[in-house]
């Protein structure tokens, strides 16, 4: 994560470089590991998705299948454990994995060596943080309006006038109303997550905008002196 943020700070150059990779390197990933790791609150990953999907299919879970082991997932795991005579600790250990229908692989299976390990380096938490603010600021906006809000936040990290990290921009005092009043803590929709991913991949419907606001709400008159680029949904975007 830190690496990902450093790359933001180091400007457009590294962002461009972020996506530089040879065809030969790209293989379909996502094979299940021989031994499932123990899951608990706060973790994220592909295995969390599988647990959430299974719990959703079996009717214990009704939240988003987003790969984040949040309190809702934990509650669903506890419910599942109570229903299956397991210790209701909210932790997915070997027994719970087996009860969920993912038995441990036989010991003879050779451990597959991944070609390049992530060692915890991922941009996933950045995408999720961005998605939360998108949800808070633009939950009722059309899809491209959501991508646009994400793009504005990322454009700020590349602007000299704003903090140079994603968290710096999002948590700057008075920068985003939904962050100031805590509304960005609402559950994140799949649409917002996808919008965040697109914004991170370079989609920018705002043509490099640094500001957005809803003209129907009272705003600082100063903001209207900015260069207005476009209007998407209910938001005006400006540079």
């Amino acid at each position: 994560m830190k690496l990902a943020l450093v790359s933001f700070r180091r400007s457009a150059l590294l962002l461009l470089a972020l996506v530089v990779l040879a065809t030969g390197l790209v293989v379909t990933a996502g094979q299940s590991p021989a031994q499932e790791r123990t899951l608990y609150w706060g973790l994220s990953g592909d295995d969390v998705i599988r647990v959430q999907q299974r719990l959703l299919d079996w009717g214990f879970y009704d939240g988003p299948v987003d790969g984040f082991y949040g309190s809702k997932t934990q509650q669903a795991v506890v419910d599942f454990q109570l229903n299956n005579g397991l210790v209701p600790d909210g932790v997915v250990g070997p027994n719970t994995w087996a009860a969920l229908g993912f038995p441990p692989a036989p010991a003879t299976a050779p451990p597959p060596e991944p070609p390049a390990v992530s060692r915890g380096v991922t941009n996933r938490d950045a995408v999720y943080l961005l998605a939360r603010v998108i949800e808070g600021e633009a939950a009722d906006e059309p899809f491209e309006g959501k991508v646009a809000v994400g793009a504005v936040i990322l454009n700020r990290t590349r602007s000299a006038a704003f903090p140079h990290s994603l968290a710096g921009v999002i948590f700057q005092p008075h920068a985003f109303e939904s962050v100031s009043n805590g509304q960005y803590n609402r559950p994140v929709s799949e649409e917002s997550l996808r919008a965040a991913m697109l914004a991170m991949s370079g989609w920018d419907p705002t043509g490099g905008s640094l500001y957005f606001w809803n003209p129907a709400k009272p705003v600082n008159p100063w903001i209207w002196t900015r260069n207005i680029v476009t209007q998407i949904g209910r938001h005006v975007f400006a540079r």
Binding site: L3, A4, A12, L13, L14, L16, A17, L18, V19, V20, L21, A22, T23, L25, V26, T28, A29, G30, D46, D66, P114, P115, A116, V117, S118, V121, N123, P142, F143, V147, R158, S159, A160, F162, P163, H164, P173, H174, A175, E190, L193, R194, A195, M197, L198, S201, W203, D204, P205, T206, G207, G208, P218, N220, I223, N227, I228, V229, T230, I232
Partner: protein, 456 residues
Amino acid sequence: MTMNNKRFWLLPLVAGVLLVGALGYWGYQQFTVRQRLETALNNKYYRALYDLTENVQNMEVLLSKSLVTGTPEAQSTLFMELWQRAMAAQADLNQLPVTDALTGRTSKFLTQVGDYAHSLLQQAARGRLESDRQWETLNRLYRQSADLNLALHDLEGRIADGRLYLNELVREGSRTLGRQGPRLANANFQTIEKHMENFPTLIYDGPFSDHLEKRTARGLTGKTINRDEARRRALELVEGRDNYTVERVGETRGKIPSYLVELRPQNGDGGGNITVAITQQGGHLSWMTNGRQIGRPAWSIEKARQKARQYLASLGFNNMVAVYHEQQNGVAVFNFAATQDRVILYPDQIKVTVALDNGQILGVEASGYLMNHTRRELPRPRISPQEARKKLNSRLKEIKGGRLALIPVSPDKEKLAYEFQARLDRDLFLIYIDAVDGSEAQVLRVVRNPEGVLTL
């Protein structure tokens, strides 16, 4: 009877007194909790302000020193410290409870001082410092930072003797870009900001240099089109065009002036609205989004990649190479880079998203391509791939590759380089060796996780 009467009014009285007491106690508790929270928050803001003042003061001193040092070694040390101080000061400033409208220009100044110091540091590392122009710029930045330092000390002084409170900002400023907003400290920042606005632009070789804001799109060719042409063009680009009707055609200014064509599915089921941005000059596809719900993944990444490649070919992009992909929530994003004479042009990228449930093309992002793509004057490589390979760190294992690629080294500079992939223990790297002078141009670490491949 009399006894009974007495007890009758005594009971409510006692209950009332107890209630008032409990309420008072509860209220007092709430009050102290609030006080403590406010103090804690204020202390954070004060810390940011004092750190900012200290960092700006150090910047001033370092800049003045840089004017009198003689050797590149001593200068390098100063630039290194200046870069760190300026970046720290910028971070401090942005933690103050003042709206960004009142700190933007100051923030930009701090960023540019740091960025400029960093670019000088890199020049010094390559042994190329042009002394005269650089001295002038440093001198100017020195005077500007001295002004800022003075203003901040003034602010700090007034806070110290109680004429100014930062917590005023906390209480009133909490309504975002709200109305008139707080008076006290904000007015001071407004004064500083006004003063900073008169600073001239700073142009140098770094990502925050002023000249980069005025970059124009190199890939835009052709004559200007009108709304009707944009509408037709958008329908041509969408799969299953017969199922969509144009709902609205808007416009966007910005880096690439475009028409925004909004399409709505006719039958309303199974698909969301599509927005297509068509450039006003030449009618090129700039970007496209589709926010429909995605079902269960049924397509493999390989099949989806083929689909994306075919789609690009149908738009007339034939010599594109797939370089990278990412997948999340049933959607895959593929990055394609242009090629010229079998050299990969990494700055000229088009991204295509494919829905993994039915293989529909959901989105395209071509603004990077439109900003950069043009026929390049590629330099002739001065060294062979074998020679370049010898420049790699001897600890690297499993070295592969060696193809030529054009890579971005700063927002407006590109380098022709040989691309190698190699491994150190379990970590995979991409290493770029300058094909002209043989220097190491770039090292990227490759990180693979279930969502795709990330390079840092």
